[in-house]
Each structure stands twice: as C-alpha cells, then as structure tokens.
C-alpha cells in the first residue's frame, strides 16, 4: 500500500519525550486470522493530548481497550506511568493501581452507567476505591467533582434516566476523574452528543485539562473535534498507522493518501461530495457503520 511509504509514520520526536506518560510499542492484536492492530507505536507526554482517528474497523478502539486492559495484546507493550500493563494484572492491588493511572469514558453514557445508581453514588464508589477518606470527606469531593463538570446536587443525586445525554456524559467524566488518573481515554466520548451540547463538553474537557494536568487519548472519527482538543494525531487505516504528527500539520497538510481522502470527505462551507471512484488511486475505505 502506498500509505506505508508516507513520510510521517515514524514516532513523532516531540511525543517521544524524555518523560513519556504512556509508551506503546509494536502493539499488535490478532482476532483469529484478522489483524485488528498491526505494529502500532506511539508516546503521550505528561500533560499531552493525542488523538487516534480512523474509520470503523481501523483498530482505534481495540488500541484503547488494550491500554485499559479490556483486551490482551497479541504482542507488543503498553507502559503507563512507568508500569507495564501488557499482561493481565496480578491481584487486586495492581488492578487498582492501573485504574488510578488510566481511566476511560465511552461513547454512550447510558450503557456505561448503572441505571440504578445515582451519579453521586457512582463517583463515591470510585473515590472509596482509589482515594479513601471518610464518608463526609468523600461527599465533599463528590460536590467538587460535580462543580468541575457542571452538575449540581440535584443532578448528582438523580438516576441516569432522569438526566439528558450531555449530563450523563458529565457524570461519566466526573466518575473517571474521581480516580485522579494521569491519562483519560475518551473513546468517541462526544460523538453522540448534539452540537450545542458537544461544544459544552469540549469546553469542559479543555477546562479539566488546564486545571488538573490530565493527559488525553481521544479516539474519534470526527476531525473537527480532534483539531479542537488534541496536540498530536495518529491516523489509522485497517490496523496500521498511516500518518502521525502534530494535529495542525497533519490536518492542514495531509501526506498519506488515506488522510487526504479523510480530510476531503469532511463537509465544510463550499464543499461538494465526490464519488470515491473520482479519486485517482483512492485507498480502500472502511465502508462500515460507525459504532
């Protein structure tokens, strides 16, 4: 594939900082004969933010799952905060430590929240596990986290079904932040939100990063969202990294044929849709339903 020869497939020197928070090396996952993720390497510096973009089947969510331990890699390594997490944790203490280092927020807060548990209770559970403290100390912290994400006491005490989609996603973000992670993985976390609500949550994520210093790994198919909240980007196609660099540079001057197709497919003022057959040497696109 022509993409493999694209100039920016090597590890970005800026991301390969002296003190990386997350180091992923030669990460590979096979599901039977299917290679979902093929030899992927990248770093995220402390306080940095990286996006993985790609279409359905590109392997981006599988990478997120391998980092949090929901999928075990076929080969390769994942290291966060100086600790290897390529294999299953040995015991509860190691599992807890991993949870305090990396947290994840999924796309659909309705399926990632317990329908019988209020936001306050869900956040308190994480605090008790990771941070300890008395009940009243934790209650104070729940209120602080609610303030941080813009949820009042009444909303914190409500069950998920009484909240809007944007409010539920705020609960999921507050719950993840309760563990005080170094890295927050946002797996399509704003994709299902209405435009006006998505803007609120994107502003919130910028505020949280500024006030806590947390790093973001954003999994997204939306290049405009990627542009707004990340410094660096990896473009994945069929399990392979086809381009890797600064977000601004990659989006303004895409080098790989696939990145160019992706960029040109985004509706902007004056844009016209083009048939794929009009693309000379067009790469095979994903053609799936976005999960």
């Amino acid at each position: 594939m022509a993409d493999a020869a694209a100039p920016r497939t090597s590890i970005d020197p800026k991301a390969a900082a002296a003190d990386p928070l997350l180091t992923v090396r030669a990460l590979t996952k096979h599901f039977g004969a299917h290679v979902a993720v093929d030899d992927v390497s990248f770093d995220i510096a402390r306080g940095g933010s990286l996006a993985i973009v790609g279409e359905s089947g590109s392997g981006k969510t599988t990478i997120a799952k391998m980092i949090v331990g929901l999928v075990v890699p076929t080969s390769g390594t994942v290291n966060a905060c100086g600790h290897d997490r390529s294999t299953r944790p040995r015991g509860a203490a190691e599992r807890r430590r991993r949870g305090a280092e990396v947290q994840i927020v999924f796309q659909d807060p309705y399926s990632s929240l317990d329908p019988h548990q209020s936001g306050a209770s869900a956040i308190d559970e994480v605090l008790a596990l990771h941070r300890g403290g008395s009940g009243s100390e934790r209650a104070g912290r729940v209120t602080e986290l609610g303030d941080l994400v813009g949820l009042d006491e009444r909303q914190l005490r409500a069950l998920p079904r009484a909240l809007s989609g944007g409010q539920r996603q705020r609960v999921a973000i507050a719950r993840a932040l309760a563990a005080e992670p170094q890295l927050l993985i946002l797996d399509e976390s704003v994709a299902a939100l209405d435009v006006s609500i998505q803007a609120q949550v994107l502003n919130l994520l910028a505020d949280v990063r500024a006030s806590t210093g947390v790093s973001y790994l954003l999994i997204s198919h939306d290049l405009a969202v990627v542009r707004q909240i990340t410094d660096d980007v990896i473009v994945m196609h069929r399990g392979v990294v086809v381009e890797h660099g600064g977000t601004r540079e990659v989006l303004d001057h895409p080098q790989a044929a696939y990145t160019q197709l992706l960029r040109a497919s985004v509706p902007t003022p004056g844009w016209r849709p083009r048939r794929r057959s009009e693309w000379s040497g067009a790469p095979e696109a994903a053609d799936g339903i976005v999960s």
């Binding site: 006006s196 509706p267 009009e278 696109a285």
Partner: protein, 333 residues
C-alpha cells in the same frame, strides 16, 4: 411560491404524540413547500421535530399520534389518500432512513427486498424487476448487482447496504425522496461517496429531496434551501449558501458557532447554554428565548411568527435589528 407550483405543500402542520401517558405537542406551526426537483434541507438537534415532519409526510406517524394541518402532494390532500391512491403516493414519495439494518428484513435476500414493491404493487414481472434492480445498483456504484441480489443483509457492509436502500427507494421512480439522516451512521468517506451518488441521481431524474440532518454544512452542500428546526418549529429558512455564513436566527448562528472547525482551533467554542428542547418543554413565547444571548423580556412572552426577511424566513422578533450582529464564533468560511 404558489401552491400550484409546489410538488409538496406542508401547511400549519402540528403533531401531538402520547408521551408519558398524555398527548404532548412535538410539532406545531410547520409550513413549507418543495418544488419539483428541488432539494430542501431540514436541520436540527434531537427533539427538534425533523424526523416527525418526514414521518408525517410519509404517513408513518406512530400509533396514537394526533395531527392537524394539511399536507398536499401534487395538489391532492395526502391525508385523504387510500387504496390505489396511497400505493401511487408510496411509489412517488419514497423514504430512506438512518440505519439501513433496522429497515430491512435480515432473513430475506437483497433481491426479494428490492423487487417486492415492483412485483406486488406495480405488476412488473420478476425478470423485469430483477433487471431494473441490477441497473439501479450499477447507478449507485455497485457493479456486481446480480451477485448482491442473492446475498443477505448481514453479508453487506453498512455503506453497501445504504446504497441498496437508496437504489430500492429509487426503483419506483419517485418524484420526492424523504431522506432521514441517510449517511449519519456511515463513515465519513462513505458519507461523501453516498451523498455524491444521491446528489447525481437526484439531478439526473429531476427528483425533489427532503434531506434531514443534524449537519448544517452537509445540508448546505447538497440542498438549494435549508430550513432550521428548533423545539418542533421552523425557526429559519434560507438559501443554503447564505444560511451558514450569514444566519438570520440566533439559534442558527449558535449552531454554526458551537461546531468545532477542521480548519482551526479556538480557545473556547461558543457553546449554546442549556440543552435542546422538545416542543412541549419550550417556553411559552419564543421557544429559544431561555437559551438565547439576544433574548429580551418580551421574547419570553410573545411567540414570534415565521416572517420574511431578505431572501429568507425567520422566527425571531429581533431578527431585523440583529442583522449583521449575530456571531458565529468568530469563524467565517
């Protein structure tokens, strides 16, 4: 536009749905026309009523729905159609939905699904129907149509299946296509491909299109005019090229400003405070008043009408004095 020129004329449409045990208004005061061969975009967030508008036109409202107002197609009242008239209407006004997998029988072959309407309602022989299906699949970019007809839906990718749905809708040679978020579930490169196909076919056949989407820029790219809905009402209707760069309604400006841009980062997005409302949750006066940065006390009390302004229509009592002052988040073009 006069009624006689319009292919579709929706006038004072209102719909109440049973929600939580009582009838609640989800759509009211909706009026618009579509001319033969014209593409109209209908843009809005969740609960704005855009899908219910399409379902009203297609006569696919859920059980228990109560609607008033009139929908005229080619001069005739759609509500009065029955029997043969309704079958003709279904052939001339086709619909494509967001999730193709939810609208196709998973245990039947693609060929059965595609040719059913032609065979059962239009007296077309099976061999003719198959030939027409294969020809249309070719037009939507599926060159091995004969093989696809023998396959089941699960054997096709989402993008392929949505192309099948579009081809199926076009088999009866409709004069109007109702497309409800037809590319929202597709990957962005597939969306561009499917939209290009839809746009080409529409122009070749002089077919009118009602294109429903949450994506203002996508609507602008393929529609002549775009209407914006909020809380069950139309709040603005305008030439697509004007709508994005120079909106008339504060909500439209808010939608443009809230969306991040692929061309640049902003320090803060101009988010609209609060959340989108359904018609039954909206304030008594202007439905957008409680989220609008330009609202005055009077806005909360007086329900504005959809009135002409420049080349468009807008439902805002301050629209005239706000001309040129609506911020779209500091980004233009």
């Amino acid at each position: 536009m006069t009624v006689s020129e319009a292919l579709l004329d929706v006038r004072d449409l209102a719909v109440d749905l049973p929600i939580g045990g009582e009838l609640r208004t989800v759509l009211h005061d909706v009026s618009f026309t579509i001319a033969p061969g014209e593409a109209l975009g209908l843009v809005g967030e969740s609960g704005s009523g855009k899908s219910m508008t399409a379902r009203s036109i297609a006569r696919l409202l859920p059980p228990g729905a109560f609607s008033t107002g009139t929908i005229s197609y080619a001069g005739g009242d759609v509500a009065a159609l029955k029997g043969a008239g309704m079958r003709t209407y279904r052939a001339e006004v086709a619909m494509v939905f967001q999730d193709p997998r939810a609208h196709i029988n998973p245990v039947r072959r693609i060929g059965d699904f595609m040719t059913e309407a032609l065979r059962t309602n239009h007296g077309v022989s099976t061999s003719d129907a198959v030939a027409r299906a294969v020809a249309l699949l070719e037009e939507v970019g599926i060159s091995d149509g004969q093989r696809r007809l023998d396959q089941h839906p699960h054997e096709l990718s989402g993008g392929l299946l949505q192309r099948v749905m579009i081809a199926t809708a076009l088999l009866t040679e409709p004069r109007l296509l109702l497309a409800d978020e037809p590319t929202t579930a597709l990957d962005v490169t597939t969306q561009a491909d499917v939209m290009a196909i839809l746009d080409d076919l529409r122009r070749e056949r002089n077919m009118a299109l009602l294109f429903i989407t949450h994506d203002l820029e996508l609507a602008s790219a393929v529609c002549d005019r775009t209407a914006v809905m909020y809380a069950g009402q139309l709040v603005e209707q305008r030439t697509s090229s004007q709508l994005h760069d120079d909106p008339l309604h504060p909500y439209t400006a808010g939608l443009v400003g809230a969306r991040p841009s692929i061309d640049g980062q902003v320090t803060r997005l101009a988010a609209i405070p609060g959340r989108p409302r359904s018609a039954y949750e909206a304030p008594a006066g202007c439905a957008f008043a409680d989220r609008c940065v330009h609202a005055e006390d009077a806005c909360a009390n007086v329900r504005p009408a959809l009135e002409p302004l420049e080349d468009g229509l807008v439902r805002c009592r301050r629209a005239g004095e706000l001309r040129g002052m609506l911020s779209t988040g500091g980004r233009r073009g």
